[in-house]
Symmetry: C2
Subunit: 217 residues, 2 copies
Protein backbone atom coordinates (compact mmCIF):
# COMPACT_ATOMS: atom_id res chain seq x y z
CA UNK A 1 0.00 0.00 0.00
CA UNK A 2 1.29 3.46 -0.82
CA UNK A 3 2.64 5.56 2.04
CA UNK A 4 0.39 8.48 2.92
CA UNK A 5 1.02 11.97 4.23
CA UNK A 6 -1.54 12.44 7.01
CA UNK A 7 -2.56 15.27 9.30
CA UNK A 8 -3.72 13.67 12.57
CA UNK A 9 -5.50 15.34 15.50
CA UNK A 10 -4.65 18.91 14.47
CA UNK A 11 -6.87 21.35 16.36
CA UNK A 12 -8.24 24.59 14.94
CA UNK A 13 -10.75 27.10 16.25
CA UNK A 14 -14.24 27.37 14.81
CA UNK A 15 -12.94 30.22 12.64
CA UNK A 16 -10.03 28.14 11.34
CA UNK A 17 -7.00 29.24 13.38
CA UNK A 18 -4.36 26.76 14.54
CA UNK A 19 -2.59 29.25 16.78
CA UNK A 20 -2.94 32.82 17.93
CA UNK A 21 -0.67 35.77 17.25
CA UNK A 22 2.51 36.41 19.20
CA UNK A 23 3.73 32.87 19.82
CA UNK A 24 6.52 32.82 22.40
CA UNK A 25 8.03 30.75 25.18
CA UNK A 26 5.36 31.55 27.76
CA UNK A 27 2.49 31.22 25.26
CA UNK A 28 3.25 28.48 22.70
CA UNK A 29 -0.05 29.03 20.89
CA UNK A 30 0.18 32.82 20.94
CA UNK A 31 -2.80 34.64 22.42
CA UNK A 32 -4.83 31.40 22.36
CA UNK A 33 -4.79 29.42 25.59
CA UNK A 34 -3.90 25.76 24.96
CA UNK A 35 -6.08 24.89 27.94
CA UNK A 36 -9.07 26.35 26.11
CA UNK A 37 -8.04 25.13 22.68
CA UNK A 38 -7.54 21.50 23.75
CA UNK A 39 -9.93 21.24 26.68
CA UNK A 40 -12.37 18.92 24.98
CA UNK A 41 -9.82 16.23 24.34
CA UNK A 42 -7.92 16.54 27.60
CA UNK A 43 -9.66 13.72 29.42
CA UNK A 44 -9.56 10.82 27.00
CA UNK A 45 -7.89 7.61 28.15
CA UNK A 46 -5.35 7.77 25.30
CA UNK A 47 -5.04 11.55 25.12
CA UNK A 48 -1.82 13.46 25.53
CA UNK A 49 -3.30 16.11 27.80
CA UNK A 50 -4.66 14.15 30.75
CA UNK A 51 -5.63 16.50 33.56
CA UNK A 52 -6.64 13.95 36.15
CA UNK A 53 -10.34 14.09 35.39
CA UNK A 54 -12.42 11.01 34.56
CA UNK A 55 -11.11 9.37 31.40
CA UNK A 56 -13.48 8.90 28.49
CA UNK A 57 -13.27 6.11 25.93
CA UNK A 58 -15.61 7.56 23.33
CA UNK A 59 -14.99 9.01 19.89
CA UNK A 60 -12.41 11.60 21.05
CA UNK A 61 -10.37 8.79 22.58
CA UNK A 62 -10.52 6.76 19.37
CA UNK A 63 -8.97 9.66 17.48
CA UNK A 64 -6.31 10.18 20.16
CA UNK A 65 -5.49 6.44 20.01
CA UNK A 66 -5.15 6.59 16.23
CA UNK A 67 -2.80 9.58 16.23
CA UNK A 68 0.44 7.56 16.22
CA UNK A 69 -0.99 4.39 14.66
CA UNK A 70 0.96 3.27 11.60
CA UNK A 71 3.08 6.44 11.58
CA UNK A 72 6.81 6.09 10.86
CA UNK A 73 7.95 9.72 10.68
CA UNK A 74 6.70 13.26 11.27
CA UNK A 75 7.25 16.50 9.41
CA UNK A 76 6.76 19.71 11.40
CA UNK A 77 7.35 23.41 10.93
CA UNK A 78 10.08 25.27 12.77
CA UNK A 79 7.46 27.12 14.81
CA UNK A 80 6.11 23.86 16.21
CA UNK A 81 9.61 22.90 17.35
CA UNK A 82 10.62 26.21 18.89
CA UNK A 83 9.23 29.55 20.05
CA UNK A 84 12.39 31.28 18.81
CA UNK A 85 13.08 32.69 15.35
CA UNK A 86 16.40 33.10 13.58
CA UNK A 87 19.49 30.84 13.72
CA UNK A 88 19.40 27.86 16.07
CA UNK A 89 22.81 28.94 17.45
CA UNK A 90 21.07 31.81 19.25
CA UNK A 91 19.37 29.28 21.56
CA UNK A 92 21.62 26.21 21.59
CA UNK A 93 20.00 24.95 24.77
CA UNK A 94 16.55 24.65 23.15
CA UNK A 95 15.59 21.00 22.54
CA UNK A 96 11.88 21.32 21.80
CA UNK A 97 8.84 21.50 24.07
CA UNK A 98 8.71 17.84 25.00
CA UNK A 99 11.48 17.15 27.52
CA UNK A 100 13.85 14.20 27.44
CA UNK A 101 11.30 11.74 26.02
CA UNK A 102 9.36 13.37 23.15
CA UNK A 103 6.08 11.65 22.22
CA UNK A 104 7.04 11.00 18.58
CA UNK A 105 9.20 7.82 18.84
CA UNK A 106 10.18 8.21 15.16
CA UNK A 107 12.38 10.45 13.04
CA UNK A 108 11.01 14.01 12.93
CA UNK A 109 11.86 16.41 10.09
CA UNK A 110 11.81 20.05 11.17
CA UNK A 111 11.51 22.51 8.29
CA UNK A 112 13.89 25.43 8.68
CA UNK A 113 16.09 27.62 6.54
CA UNK A 114 18.71 27.48 9.29
CA UNK A 115 21.06 24.54 9.78
CA UNK A 116 21.38 22.43 12.88
CA UNK A 117 22.91 19.01 13.54
CA UNK A 118 20.42 16.19 14.20
CA UNK A 119 19.19 16.03 17.80
CA UNK A 120 18.38 12.67 19.40
CA UNK A 121 16.25 12.52 22.56
CA UNK A 122 15.30 9.02 23.66
CA UNK A 123 13.84 7.24 20.58
CA UNK A 124 13.08 10.45 18.65
CA UNK A 125 15.62 12.08 16.32
CA UNK A 126 14.97 15.57 15.00
CA UNK A 127 16.45 16.34 11.57
CA UNK A 128 16.58 19.97 10.47
CA UNK A 129 15.88 20.26 6.76
CA UNK A 130 15.48 23.10 4.29
CA UNK A 131 14.76 21.31 1.02
CA UNK A 132 11.70 21.80 -1.19
CA UNK A 133 8.59 20.23 0.33
CA UNK A 134 8.41 17.29 -2.07
CA UNK A 135 12.05 16.40 -1.35
CA UNK A 136 11.46 16.58 2.41
CA UNK A 137 8.43 14.33 2.00
CA UNK A 138 10.48 11.78 0.08
CA UNK A 139 13.14 11.85 2.77
CA UNK A 140 10.51 11.35 5.50
CA UNK A 141 8.89 8.48 3.60
CA UNK A 142 12.24 6.74 3.25
CA UNK A 143 12.84 7.14 6.99
CA UNK A 144 9.33 5.89 7.84
CA UNK A 145 10.23 2.36 6.82
CA UNK A 146 7.03 1.60 4.92
CA UNK A 147 4.71 3.34 7.36
CA UNK A 148 2.86 6.62 6.83
CA UNK A 149 4.17 10.13 7.49
CA UNK A 150 2.34 12.50 9.82
CA UNK A 151 2.29 16.19 9.01
CA UNK A 152 2.38 17.67 12.49
CA UNK A 153 1.70 21.34 11.80
CA UNK A 154 1.53 24.18 12.56
CA UNK A 155 -1.19 25.65 10.40
CA UNK A 156 1.25 27.43 8.08
CA UNK A 157 3.15 24.22 7.37
CA UNK A 158 -0.05 22.27 6.67
CA UNK A 159 -1.20 25.08 4.39
CA UNK A 160 2.08 24.93 2.43
CA UNK A 161 1.81 21.16 1.91
CA UNK A 162 -1.86 21.54 0.91
CA UNK A 163 -0.96 24.22 -1.61
CA UNK A 164 1.69 21.87 -3.04
CA UNK A 165 -1.00 19.13 -3.22
CA UNK A 166 1.09 16.70 -1.17
CA UNK A 167 -1.43 15.86 1.61
CA UNK A 168 -3.43 12.61 1.38
CA UNK A 169 -5.67 12.72 4.49
CA UNK A 170 -6.51 15.21 7.23
CA UNK A 171 -8.13 14.76 10.61
CA UNK A 172 -8.88 18.20 12.01
CA UNK A 173 -10.46 18.81 15.41
CA UNK A 174 -12.63 21.92 15.43
CA UNK A 175 -12.85 23.49 18.88
CA UNK A 176 -15.95 25.59 19.66
CA UNK A 177 -13.62 28.51 20.47
CA UNK A 178 -13.14 31.48 18.12
CA UNK A 179 -9.79 33.25 17.76
CA UNK A 180 -10.49 36.27 15.55
CA UNK A 181 -6.87 36.52 14.44
CA UNK A 182 -3.70 34.42 14.43
CA UNK A 183 -2.23 31.69 12.22
CA UNK A 184 -4.95 30.37 9.98
CA UNK A 185 -5.41 26.93 8.41
CA UNK A 186 -8.45 27.87 6.33
CA UNK A 187 -11.49 30.08 6.10
CA UNK A 188 -13.69 27.00 5.89
CA UNK A 189 -13.01 23.32 5.13
CA UNK A 190 -15.36 23.41 2.15
CA UNK A 191 -12.64 25.34 0.31
CA UNK A 192 -10.94 21.95 -0.13
CA UNK A 193 -13.93 20.11 -1.58
CA UNK A 194 -12.60 20.31 -5.12
CA UNK A 195 -9.73 18.03 -4.06
CA UNK A 196 -10.96 16.22 -0.93
CA UNK A 197 -13.91 14.27 0.39
CA UNK A 198 -15.16 15.65 3.71
CA UNK A 199 -16.98 14.00 6.61
CA UNK A 200 -18.08 16.01 9.66
CA UNK A 201 -18.38 13.95 12.85
CA UNK A 202 -19.78 15.83 15.83
CA UNK A 203 -18.50 14.58 19.17
CA UNK A 204 -20.60 14.56 22.35
CA UNK A 205 -17.71 16.49 23.95
CA UNK A 206 -18.51 19.59 21.90
CA UNK A 207 -15.73 19.43 19.31
CA UNK A 208 -16.30 18.44 15.70
CA UNK A 209 -13.99 15.98 13.97
CA UNK A 210 -13.38 16.63 10.28
CA UNK A 211 -12.06 13.85 8.08
CA UNK A 212 -10.80 14.75 4.63
CA UNK A 213 -9.26 12.41 2.10
CA UNK A 214 -8.03 13.01 -1.37
CA UNK A 215 -10.35 12.42 -4.31
CA UNK A 216 -8.71 9.95 -6.61
CA UNK A 217 -8.29 11.23 -10.14
CA UNK B 1 -2.13 0.27 32.04
CA UNK B 2 -4.56 -2.54 32.77
CA UNK B 3 -5.41 -4.93 29.94
CA UNK B 4 -8.96 -4.48 28.67
CA UNK B 5 -11.53 -6.85 27.22
CA UNK B 6 -12.91 -5.03 24.17
CA UNK B 7 -15.63 -5.68 21.63
CA UNK B 8 -14.47 -4.09 18.36
CA UNK B 9 -16.49 -3.56 15.16
CA UNK B 10 -19.27 -5.98 16.06
CA UNK B 11 -22.29 -5.39 13.81
CA UNK B 12 -25.91 -5.72 14.88
CA UNK B 13 -29.18 -4.87 13.18
CA UNK B 14 -31.27 -1.88 14.24
CA UNK B 15 -33.33 -4.29 16.35
CA UNK B 16 -30.24 -5.72 18.07
CA UNK B 17 -29.51 -9.00 16.31
CA UNK B 18 -25.94 -10.12 15.58
CA UNK B 19 -27.00 -13.04 13.39
CA UNK B 20 -30.16 -14.57 12.02
CA UNK B 21 -31.67 -17.97 12.74
CA UNK B 22 -30.47 -21.17 11.11
CA UNK B 23 -26.74 -20.51 10.83
CA UNK B 24 -25.08 -23.06 8.53
CA UNK B 25 -22.26 -23.50 6.06
CA UNK B 26 -24.01 -21.74 3.19
CA UNK B 27 -25.37 -18.94 5.39
CA UNK B 28 -22.89 -18.10 8.16
CA UNK B 29 -25.16 -15.39 9.59
CA UNK B 30 -28.32 -17.48 9.35
CA UNK B 31 -31.19 -15.87 7.47
CA UNK B 32 -29.37 -12.50 7.50
CA UNK B 33 -27.30 -11.76 4.42
CA UNK B 34 -23.76 -10.68 5.35
CA UNK B 35 -23.77 -8.55 2.21
CA UNK B 36 -26.68 -6.57 3.62
CA UNK B 37 -25.48 -6.64 7.23
CA UNK B 38 -21.98 -5.38 6.41
CA UNK B 39 -22.63 -3.35 3.27
CA UNK B 40 -21.96 0.03 4.84
CA UNK B 41 -18.45 -0.82 5.91
CA UNK B 42 -17.45 -2.80 2.85
CA UNK B 43 -15.68 0.00 1.04
CA UNK B 44 -13.36 1.50 3.60
CA UNK B 45 -9.66 1.56 2.82
CA UNK B 46 -8.85 -0.54 5.91
CA UNK B 47 -11.99 -2.69 5.89
CA UNK B 48 -12.03 -6.44 5.68
CA UNK B 49 -14.83 -6.60 3.13
CA UNK B 50 -13.47 -4.63 0.19
CA UNK B 51 -15.67 -5.13 -2.85
CA UNK B 52 -13.70 -3.14 -5.37
CA UNK B 53 -15.71 0.06 -4.99
CA UNK B 54 -14.14 3.43 -4.20
CA UNK B 55 -12.41 3.30 -0.84
CA UNK B 56 -13.46 5.76 1.82
CA UNK B 57 -11.19 7.12 4.56
CA UNK B 58 -13.87 8.58 6.80
CA UNK B 59 -15.17 7.53 10.20
CA UNK B 60 -16.05 3.94 9.17
CA UNK B 61 -12.46 3.48 8.03
CA UNK B 62 -11.10 4.81 11.31
CA UNK B 63 -13.05 2.13 13.18
CA UNK B 64 -11.92 -0.59 10.77
CA UNK B 65 -8.30 0.56 11.23
CA UNK B 66 -8.65 0.44 15.00
CA UNK B 67 -10.10 -3.09 15.06
CA UNK B 68 -6.77 -4.89 15.51
CA UNK B 69 -4.88 -1.99 17.12
CA UNK B 70 -3.26 -2.93 20.43
CA UNK B 71 -4.98 -6.34 20.48
CA UNK B 72 -2.92 -9.35 21.59
CA UNK B 73 -5.54 -12.12 21.66
CA UNK B 74 -9.16 -12.83 20.74
CA UNK B 75 -11.90 -14.80 22.47
CA UNK B 76 -14.71 -16.08 20.25
CA UNK B 77 -17.67 -18.40 20.57
CA UNK B 78 -17.77 -21.81 18.90
CA UNK B 79 -20.45 -20.58 16.50
CA UNK B 80 -18.15 -17.87 15.16
CA UNK B 81 -15.49 -20.49 14.45
CA UNK B 82 -17.69 -23.12 12.85
CA UNK B 83 -21.16 -23.63 11.36
CA UNK B 84 -21.23 -27.16 12.80
CA UNK B 85 -22.46 -28.26 16.22
CA UNK B 86 -21.38 -31.24 18.31
CA UNK B 87 -17.89 -32.77 18.60
CA UNK B 88 -15.11 -31.35 16.44
CA UNK B 89 -14.24 -34.92 15.36
CA UNK B 90 -17.39 -34.96 13.24
CA UNK B 91 -15.81 -32.36 10.92
CA UNK B 92 -12.03 -32.78 11.30
CA UNK B 93 -11.42 -30.96 8.03
CA UNK B 94 -13.01 -27.73 9.32
CA UNK B 95 -10.39 -25.05 10.03
CA UNK B 96 -12.56 -21.93 10.36
CA UNK B 97 -13.97 -19.52 7.78
CA UNK B 98 -10.76 -17.67 7.07
CA UNK B 99 -8.56 -19.89 4.90
CA UNK B 100 -4.85 -20.47 5.38
CA UNK B 101 -4.09 -16.95 6.67
CA UNK B 102 -6.74 -15.90 9.22
CA UNK B 103 -6.96 -12.16 9.91
CA UNK B 104 -6.29 -12.44 13.66
CA UNK B 105 -2.46 -12.76 13.80
CA UNK B 106 -2.68 -13.58 17.54
CA UNK B 107 -3.75 -16.46 19.74
CA UNK B 108 -7.52 -17.03 19.51
CA UNK B 109 -9.48 -18.78 22.27
CA UNK B 110 -12.56 -20.61 20.98
CA UNK B 111 -15.13 -21.41 23.66
CA UNK B 112 -16.47 -24.93 23.35
CA UNK B 113 -17.50 -27.79 25.58
CA UNK B 114 -15.82 -30.15 23.12
CA UNK B 115 -12.07 -30.77 23.04
CA UNK B 116 -9.77 -30.17 20.13
CA UNK B 117 -6.00 -29.85 19.82
CA UNK B 118 -4.69 -26.34 19.07
CA UNK B 119 -4.79 -25.41 15.40
CA UNK B 120 -2.11 -23.13 13.91
CA UNK B 121 -2.71 -21.41 10.58
CA UNK B 122 -0.03 -18.92 9.58
CA UNK B 123 0.49 -16.59 12.59
CA UNK B 124 -2.85 -17.41 14.23
CA UNK B 125 -3.26 -20.28 16.71
CA UNK B 126 -6.75 -21.36 17.76
CA UNK B 127 -7.03 -22.81 21.28
CA UNK B 128 -10.24 -24.65 22.17
CA UNK B 129 -11.20 -23.98 25.76
CA UNK B 130 -14.11 -24.88 28.01
CA UNK B 131 -13.25 -23.17 31.29
CA UNK B 132 -15.39 -20.64 33.12
CA UNK B 133 -15.40 -17.25 31.40
CA UNK B 134 -13.18 -15.50 33.93
CA UNK B 135 -10.55 -18.25 33.65
CA UNK B 136 -10.62 -18.05 29.84
CA UNK B 137 -10.19 -14.29 30.05
CA UNK B 138 -7.16 -14.68 32.34
CA UNK B 139 -5.66 -17.20 29.92
CA UNK B 140 -6.24 -14.83 26.99
CA UNK B 141 -4.73 -11.88 28.86
CA UNK B 142 -1.63 -13.91 29.67
CA UNK B 143 -1.30 -14.84 25.99
CA UNK B 144 -1.84 -11.23 24.86
CA UNK B 145 1.56 -10.20 26.18
CA UNK B 146 0.45 -6.95 27.78
CA UNK B 147 -1.93 -5.95 25.00
CA UNK B 148 -5.74 -5.94 25.16
CA UNK B 149 -8.07 -8.85 24.42
CA UNK B 150 -10.78 -8.59 21.77
CA UNK B 151 -14.09 -10.32 22.37
CA UNK B 152 -14.97 -11.35 18.84
CA UNK B 153 -18.57 -12.53 19.21
CA UNK B 154 -21.01 -13.84 18.29
CA UNK B 155 -23.84 -12.07 20.07
CA UNK B 156 -24.44 -14.93 22.52
CA UNK B 157 -20.80 -14.94 23.61
CA UNK B 158 -20.74 -11.16 24.08
CA UNK B 159 -23.97 -11.41 26.06
CA UNK B 160 -22.45 -14.06 28.36
CA UNK B 161 -19.37 -11.94 29.07
CA UNK B 162 -21.59 -8.88 29.66
CA UNK B 163 -23.72 -10.85 32.10
CA UNK B 164 -20.53 -11.89 33.92
CA UNK B 165 -19.49 -8.19 34.00
CA UNK B 166 -16.16 -8.92 32.31
CA UNK B 167 -16.38 -6.49 29.36
CA UNK B 168 -14.57 -3.12 29.55
CA UNK B 169 -15.43 -1.44 26.24
CA UNK B 170 -17.71 -2.11 23.27
CA UNK B 171 -17.77 -0.68 19.77
CA UNK B 172 -20.97 -1.83 18.11
CA UNK B 173 -21.92 -0.96 14.53
CA UNK B 174 -25.68 -0.63 14.09
CA UNK B 175 -26.79 -1.43 10.57
CA UNK B 176 -30.04 0.18 9.34
CA UNK B 177 -31.38 -3.34 8.62
CA UNK B 178 -33.96 -5.07 10.83
CA UNK B 179 -33.88 -8.83 11.42
CA UNK B 180 -37.07 -9.58 13.39
CA UNK B 181 -35.63 -12.78 14.85
CA UNK B 182 -32.27 -14.48 15.31
CA UNK B 183 -29.42 -14.27 17.80
CA UNK B 184 -29.84 -11.12 19.82
CA UNK B 185 -27.23 -8.94 21.54
CA UNK B 186 -29.74 -6.63 23.23
CA UNK B 187 -33.16 -5.08 23.01
CA UNK B 188 -31.59 -1.63 23.16
CA UNK B 189 -28.13 -0.37 24.20
CA UNK B 190 -29.68 1.81 26.91
CA UNK B 191 -30.21 -1.38 28.92
CA UNK B 192 -26.49 -1.17 29.73
CA UNK B 193 -26.51 2.44 30.97
CA UNK B 194 -26.38 1.39 34.61
CA UNK B 195 -22.89 -0.03 33.99
CA UNK B 196 -21.60 1.75 30.85
CA UNK B 197 -21.22 5.18 29.35
CA UNK B 198 -22.69 5.37 25.85
CA UNK B 199 -21.85 7.59 22.87
CA UNK B 200 -23.81 7.38 19.63
CA UNK B 201 -21.85 8.46 16.55
CA UNK B 202 -23.85 8.56 13.32
CA UNK B 203 -21.80 7.86 10.21
CA UNK B 204 -22.46 9.50 6.84
CA UNK B 205 -22.58 5.94 5.44
CA UNK B 206 -25.87 5.24 7.21
CA UNK B 207 -24.64 3.06 10.07
CA UNK B 208 -24.43 4.26 13.65
CA UNK B 209 -21.35 3.58 15.77
CA UNK B 210 -21.99 2.96 19.45
CA UNK B 211 -19.17 3.33 21.94
CA UNK B 212 -19.68 1.99 25.44
CA UNK B 213 -17.15 1.97 28.25
CA UNK B 214 -17.44 0.82 31.80
CA UNK B 215 -18.37 3.32 34.49
CA UNK B 216 -15.69 3.29 37.12
CA UNK B 217 -16.96 2.49 40.59
Amino acid sequence: MAQLLKVQCFTVTADGYGAGDDQRLDQPFGHLSPQELFTRRSNTASGAFGDGGPQTRGIDDLFARDMHHGIGAEIMGRNKFSPFRGPFEDHPEWEGWWGDAPPFHTPVFVLSHFNRAPLTLSDTTFHFVSGPLDAVLEEAKAAANGRDVRLGGGATTIREFLDADLVDTLHIVVSPLTAGHGVRLWERPEDLLDRFHLERIPSPSGVEHLLLWRRTA
